[in-house]
Amino acid sequence: MERRDFLKIAGGGAAGIGLAAIIAVEPARATPASMEEAIRKVVGAAPIKPGRIKIELPPLSENGNAVPLTLSVESPMTEADHVRALHVFTEKNPLPEVVSFRLGPRAGRARVATRIRLADSQTVVAVCEMSDGSFWSDRADVVVTIAACAEEL
């Protein structure tokens, strides 16, 4: 065997082992596909259009354990035209679902804030369900420096 061939094989093998190690260490987490599935479970077959809802997240978050999240929807919040529900999903958390809020015309204003955990830098998707049955969404990218769920007890 030529030295060159040997190096090729050895290099390939090492890369393979490295990849296997990464796969073994990586815990179960949501993927864009599982997020899509989770969204579909809530929305059904209805089309989701971009717009109307606004998701506010800091673009860079130092601590993934408590990331402030604000959702707001432009809606008159009347009996005839209001926001029925707001749902939040993530791409790379162990579970795609984050939270679902139910509100109605008595909310007066469609604006909700909370604090969420993010396991990694990723895209967060918010979907709102209007009283006419339409769905709208917005997404935000967040860079997380200290991930949630990383620490041990």
Partner: protein, 106 residues
């Protein structure tokens, strides 16, 4: 003993949109963490939060492990009449906390 903190304006004019802030003390254990010995720590989270205004539900939330410890929510409601705004958190291991606030609407 779990504690809850709620912030509701004590007075409002009829038709005003009031902002409500709530916080409940809870670790929101995700179920994905392990102890140093490798034993998984079971999930223990608040599953549901409901806010009622004189008995009628005005806001609710379904929580998943991705909600931070000590769940904090800010939302709003229209001041329609004087009375009580009540809050209920329920979760794993029989977790249940109630809190209420009185509001006077002129």
């Amino acid at each position: 003993m779990a504690n809850a903190l709620v912030n509701v304006p004590p007075r409002a004019r009829r038709g005003d949109i009031i902002e409500i802030k709530t916080l409940v003390s809870h670790p929101m254990e995700t179920g994905y963490r392990r102890t140093q010995l490798g034993a998984p720590i079971p999930r223990d989270i608040v599953r549901r939060f409901v806010c009622t205004y004189n008995g009628a539900e005005v806001f609710s939330a379904e929580l998943h492990p991705a909600i931070s410890a000590n769940p904090y929510f800010v939302f709003s409601t229209v001041a329609v009449e004087s009375g009580t705004i009540a809050f209920l958190w329920t979760g794993d291991n029989g977790f249940s906390v109630t809190e209420s606030a009185a509001i006077v609407v002129d």
